[in-house]
């Protein structure tokens, strides 16, 4: 099972230029708002038309600008879950799900299929309700049921958790993950939330300003984002331009520090990034003196705003976070960091 996407679309001030390939399981498209994630999904589903490019699903061409192929959404066999779930308000939950089987022949026992999916997704009790009478979590299950009975080859999830309350979100993320595994469906998840991408997807594509900048295994990309934009979107708070001095040392002028590396450093590197929780007081490697500016208490962790001792006035401060229950380090005089925890980036 695979989807290949290589499309371009010009919006004047904004140019969409996305290329990626999936290979089963869940692939997330991670990027800030307005980077063209939803537009990419709409192009895959056939709701929007790219200016040029190719979209191939399991060997079937859905779109090819050169061959003038542009299948209508009805013929693409692509399930689309909208941010607001798009349940038909004039129909009951039951009628909504039956809509997903509308085109299936008489040989299909729709009633049995409906009851089976309703039971699996625990929505048997709300089949007679209308969409405005059910909760956000239930609406998501109904939308998923409606897509699953339609038997699409791939499911597109467009920010599926953003309409939900915080406390529900985490539970439903786990639930969605289990459902996708159980029904053995390939899916593409669009999100701006790095936790969501990390929890749900095995593969990840990072989008920035309309371009797909990097693709890879989700866990590997979090560990080694390669590109500055990918590091930022995966939650790296501290980053600055750097100069590779020799094979084993990198200077960061705005922080006025030099980091030493055991492994060889790629000369193409021009940015370093450090995740806020990677600093440690008792770490001897790359130890530097700091000035604490402010300590901010958060529900479960402490955040410290600091600058390196010799850091220039105008450069931005850094962030260091640690678990609240660990020893209070708020009067720390110096911080170290393991060299393999420093992200070497291309900006």
């Amino acid at each position: 099972m695979s989807l290949y996407v290589d499309i371009k679309k010009d919006f004047g001030s904004f140019k969409l230029n996305v290329r990626f390939e999936t290979s089963g399981e869940v692939t997330s498209l991670l990027g800030a708002s307005g980077t063209g994630k939803s537009m990419t999904l709409k192009c895959i589903a056939g709701i929007e038309k790219p200016d040029s490019g190719v979209i191939i699903l399991n060997g079937r061409t859905l779109y090819n600008s050169e061959k003038h192929i542009n299948l209508p959404p009805q013929k693409r066999h692509v399930g689309y879950m909208f941010q607001n779930y798009a349940l038909f308000p004039n129909m009951t939950v039951r009628q909504n799900i039956l809509c997903g089987m509308h085109n299936q022949g008489k040989e299909v026992n729709k009633e049995a299929k409906l009851m089976e999916i309703a039971k699996k997704l625990k929505i048997e009790d709300i089949l007679r309700h209308r969409p405005h009478q059910i909760s956000g979590g239930q609406a998501q299950r109904v939308a998923l049921a409606r897509i699953l009975v339609n038997e699409p080859e791939i499911i597109l999830l467009d920010e599926p958790f953003s309409a939900l309350d915080e406390h529900l979100r985490n539970r439903l993320q786990v639930e969605m993950k289990e459902n996708l595994v159980e029904f053995n469906k390939e899916a593409i998840l669009v999100t701006h939330n790095r936790d969501e991408a990390y929890i749900l997807s095995q593969n990840m594509v990072v989008l920035s300003k309309g371009e797909s900048i990097v693709q890879g295994k989700t866990k590997e990309l979090f560990e080694k984002p390669i590109y500055l934009d990918a590091a930022i979107i995966t939650g790296c708070k501290n980053y600055a331009p750097c100069v590779v001095k020799d094979k084993h040392s990198v200077e960061v002028p705005s922080w006025n520090v030099t980091f030493k590396f055991k492994d060889e450093v790629d000369p193409l590197i021009n940015y370093v990034g450090i995740r806020a929780h990677e600093f440690a007081v008792d770490e001897k490697e790359n130890k530097n003196n700091i000035k604490v500016l402010e300590v901010i208490e958060q529900p479960f962790e402490m955040q410290v705003r600091f600058k390196y001792e010799k850091q220039s006035e105008e450069s931005d401060e850094l962030f260091w976070t640690f678990k609240k229950d660990s020893k209070p380090f708020t009067d720390a005089k110096h911080l170290g960091i393991k060299s393999n925890n420093i992200l070497l980036l291309i900006g």
Binding site: K42, A45, G46, I47, P72, P73, Q74, K75, R76, V78, G79, Y80, F82, N84, A86, F88, P89, N90, C99, G100, H102, N103, R130, H132, Q133, R146, I147, N150, P152
Partner: protein, 222 residues
């Protein structure tokens, strides 16, 4: 008493409303999809009858459908006559009442969540199915409001109707032209009877609207 005007008014208004329904829904849907400039122009043309004096609308209809004008003369050779015939009342009512339906249903179409239609498409539903079973029901309130307004306006149409079909108490008279005719001829009793009949019909229509709206609110609260 000759009840022809009541029967004539009702059939004109009902037939006009049916035509207005299809025309209004169709045009509102088409205009919504048009590019901006075309949209602006069509919008002005379709809404113009709302601000024109009804007599001007009537005169324009005569210019087209009058017996001495090309379209009217052509239709006459085929045995169809709108000028000085009750069927002309339908034309007059459609022209004057149409903008009310058009504007309200276009508003409803514009506030429709396009993702509902997109969701239908990805589920393989045909565009026709989506239009009649998803788009139209979702815009139901706006469309019904437009229809009721259009029906009420068609029933009360006077200016364009009297220009195009005149007054003949057995062939073209409507409630409103009968009131005017009776009063002009100092027959105040007949005028008053028809005024009361008209008041009654209008009140019934308003009561029906209220009942419908209340039902709707109940449905939404459940």
């Amino acid at each position: 008493m000759n009840l022809f005007p009541l029967w004539n008014s009702l059939r004109i208004a009902l037939i006009a409303t049916v035509i207005i329904f299809f025309l209004g829904v169709f045009l509102a849907y088409i205009v919504k999809k048009c590019p901006k400039v075309a949209k602006g122009i069509i919008d002005v043309v379709l809404t113009l009858p709302l601000v024109l004096p009804p007599t001007v609308c009537g005169y324009l209809l005569i210019l087209v459908f009058g017996p001495r004008h090309p379209v009217g003369a052509f239709l006459q050779t085929m045995g169809i006559q709108f000028f000085m015939d009750w069927k002309g009342g339908i034309l007059a009512s459609v022209m004057v009442a149409f903008p009310l339906m058009y504007r309200t249903s276009r508003g409803a179409f514009e506030s429709f969540d396009e993702n509902l239609a997109n969701a239908g498409k990805t589920l393989g539903l045909s565009n026709t199915y989506i239009f009649w079973r998803i788009r139209l029901p979702a815009c139901k309130n706006g469309i019904i409001a437009g229809l009721v307004l259009a029906f009420a306006r068609a029933l009360g149409e006077y200016g364009a109707t009297s220009m195009l079909i005149g007054y003949n108490q057995y062939r073209t008279a409507t409630i409103s032209t009968t009131v005017a005719y009776a009063w002009n001829n100092n027959d105040t009793t007949t005028a008053l009877i028809w005024v009361l009949i008209n008041l009654f019909i209008s009140a019934v229509v308003l009561v029906l609207i209220n009942i419908f709206e209340n039902n709707n609110k109940k449905g939404a609260k459940l």
